[in-house]
Symmetry: C2
Subunit: 534 residues, 2 copies
Amino acid sequence: MDRHSGKELSERVFLYDTTLRDGAQMEDISFTLEDKLRIVSRLDSLGISLIEGGWPGANPKDREFFARVREIELKHARIAAFGSTRKAGNSVSRDPVVADLLEARTPVVTIFGKSWHLHVRDILGLSREQNLSMIRETVDYLKQNGREVVYDAEHFFDGFDDDPDFALETVRAAREAGADWIVLCDTNGGSLPDAISLATARVAKDVGGALGIHAHNDSELAVANSLAAVLAGARQVHGTINGIGERCGNANLVSVAPNLALKMGFFVMEPAALARLRDSAAFVSELSNRALPKNMPFVGESAFAHKAGVHVHAVRKVSRAYEHIRPELVGNRQRILLSEQSGRSNLVEKARQYGLSLEDGDSHLSTLLARLKEMEYAGYQFEGADASFELLMRQALERTDPFFRIDFFRIAMGRGEKDGYAEATVQVRVGSQSEHTAALGNGPVNALDNALRKALSTFYPEVRHISLLDYKVRVLSGSAGTASRVRVLVESSDGRRKWGTVGVSENVIEASLDALKDSVEHYLLTSGALRHGE
Amino acid sequence: MDRHSGKELSERVFLYDTTLRDGAQMEDISFTLEDKLRIVSRLDSLGISLIEGGWPGANPKDREFFARVREIELKHARIAAFGSTRKAGNSVSRDPVVADLLEARTPVVTIFGKSWHLHVRDILGLSREQNLSMIRETVDYLKQNGREVVYDAEHFFDGFDDDPDFALETVRAAREAGADWIVLCDTNGGSLPDAISLATARVAKDVGGALGIHAHNDSELAVANSLAAVLAGARQVHGTINGIGERCGNANLVSVAPNLALKMGFFVMEPAALARLRDSAAFVSELSNRALPKNMPFVGESAFAHKAGVHVHAVRKVSRAYEHIRPELVGNRQRILLSEQSGRSNLVEKARQYGLSLEDGDSHLSTLLARLKEMEYAGYQFEGADASFELLMRQALERTDPFFRIDFFRIAMGRGEKDGYAEATVQVRVGSQSEHTAALGNGPVNALDNALRKALSTFYPEVRHISLLDYKVRVLSGSAGTASRVRVLVESSDGRRKWGTVGVSENVIEASLDALKDSVEHYLLTSGALRHGE
């Protein structure tokens, strides 16, 4: 199968997304109701088949979610409510958790039950029969109430390892009671792919029917385990976008999907949806308040970024020599980077991207390379700050004057009797004219940014379109005896495109100002602003 | 094999660390010479067998490294210099890259050669024979010069997939010329575990001898691929600490090692060294200027952190019910967290940890739970800010007065004629007395922190021991119509222990001040400071 053409594929694997339930159990993640509804729409547009929306019995917010989600028109996805089997002492028709599950009025209900005698006997203090009844009766009751039932066999692989008959009996009970999907869960995340294969194949043979896999990433094997289970017969894969989840996360659907679709011959989602994978990953990541890691497989900023001198030369010639898939298939793109191992060919390529003339034998090349290494040694990094590097190259090769200079600035912040404030003053100079002004902001950098652009807008009105998208501060470890430096990376936008700039200083405000200056300078340069005369 | 006791194991797998070479090719990574030497010592103490120190031909800094590393006394590790086979047109004895490799005077030399006709023919424009000669002659030459030779078969799996005979021929040539290790590289990172297994088994059968695997994480399968290769006969695994490396990184040795050692019956390093895994990961992470991701398998802060109400209850009873290995085996520990799905049992457990009395039926419990959910909804998160939560619980349960209050504060920052400055003033109140002072800092938060502790030290001299270790700002997405809030997480230390606090506000300075206040308050509380009377 040609992974580079994305040819049409045969057998189908259904993705079951638990970003909103298992994913939300991750530290530092807290989705608002609005966030969740937006994620549902996004997942639906990706072609995800099943979306686990929450745990109505455990969280009041989830009840509101299930009410609101019914108002959304979904093209592909069906919503699942998640919960446990009835409690040991309750009859199923009077169990509050089960009642909550039905009240969520979802087409699908997912319940989890115990597959490991360790849990049943030692932790819950129940008998084998009691456990099987809990499973059977809950599945049956949900089926009678018209639900599609997904049965999550918790700790299945550990249970199967300890006592295979016990484990098989639990899933057989669920199947016989009518469960539509039996999902084998590696709840502790400790299983190896071969064990997953063997156990899944055994269930396929002894119990049969539609099977799924729910893997966790505690051994860094969740994706591999999911693929192994599919090869052994599973056709439903549970996971989350970006692999978020408790402890080390769930199986990352963003890696599972392209592996299944582009390399293993399964149909997972329309190619057009797969090409939106990167955007979807970025979207969920933003709502999770986590930056999408640059090195994320398939969709990370660096996933197809070529650095070392020797690669770049080859990449320009034959992409598949160095790329395992065509980046566009998942909505990503190829990038050429700068680095310490930067070769001359990297810089020539960069110059070409910027529309500058720089040949391999040019004397400026050695100077630039040396300057680059010197700056990187001082703490500058141009990855994520391409605009600053372009300015550096242009200044070296074209020797043009900057659009403006900063004469001085001041920042004040505090809290007096009532509210807090942040105020910045700045004086900019353009040619022989200057403008001195003040601005407020919700913090020092924001105030400075506002003041800078306010002052500059008297000369260049277009700077009003610039806004700050992201602002990252990193303290650089100083060597013995020197003070720590701070590196500030700023991402700006004019509503249509984004660009990154960098500043380094021992003072965070100075570093921020440098990054902001570069941002405006770059904008003026690339938007074709007219320079003011002397 | 009992993964929970770490019993003594039989067959040996050697770890080959390329953190300093392949790892350093990652975006945003830039190790100084001192960093590299410190990492070498740390890797040696871990029991790593081979350390790839650099690429002398590509980077001048590396030459100095190889000179300096000879001065370090190593107990386990041997250093390898990395480079390419001789260039097509050069004789091996006059090739500058090969000369550089020998000049590094390392006991081991690792060279990479082409296994895929696509590279040989289409990119380099060479014949099959030319390629084989380059491989043979370089390996032979290095052996004659007394080196142990590791031969990296670049793009082996893609090459084997396209033309198995071509690929096998290249590694056979290296073996016959005397290479000590043949390492099969999945250079593009796109191979699946079964393909890795098959190809590795084939090489083991057709070529034989000591084999290794060098996987990349572009498909999120590097660890799985490494394990698959070991099962197929490889006994050397290449990777980096924390999986750093170009694009999506190399195989993460921090996951590979415990999987091999605790689950697959191989000897990888002494148990005492394995128990230092977490510290080593944190160490390299600090030098890389990257935070160790909380959700990192095995060694992440969250790897054994239990959140959802239902788990915590079980975890307290029987650890192996919910933990795939005992965390101490890799130097990690179990943690109980707060969450939106926080159950009563989580809070009772937390109170117990803090030495507070809180029973399951206590009326304060419901109040606290509600307050917690309310604060989390407002943007507070207590993971990473355990000290703030402890204060919250104490205030609710013990109703003690704070150690101090802040009457007012001001911050100013700017740059005038020459240098920049940041100045903060603050007035604190303790009982009926107040202290108003000023301090400078290298930024607004640092100045505020200094001023706060300077003012407080007149009442509580011990606050001088507190220092700020880490400071993270996160902008919280506001819902439509409201301004964005900012959450500040501060990590403090007194040189012996660390603690985290949090502050949330629309103003980053206010949020920072709240986090700093909590930090000092918590320190005074837990260090048994005497309160000043009214």
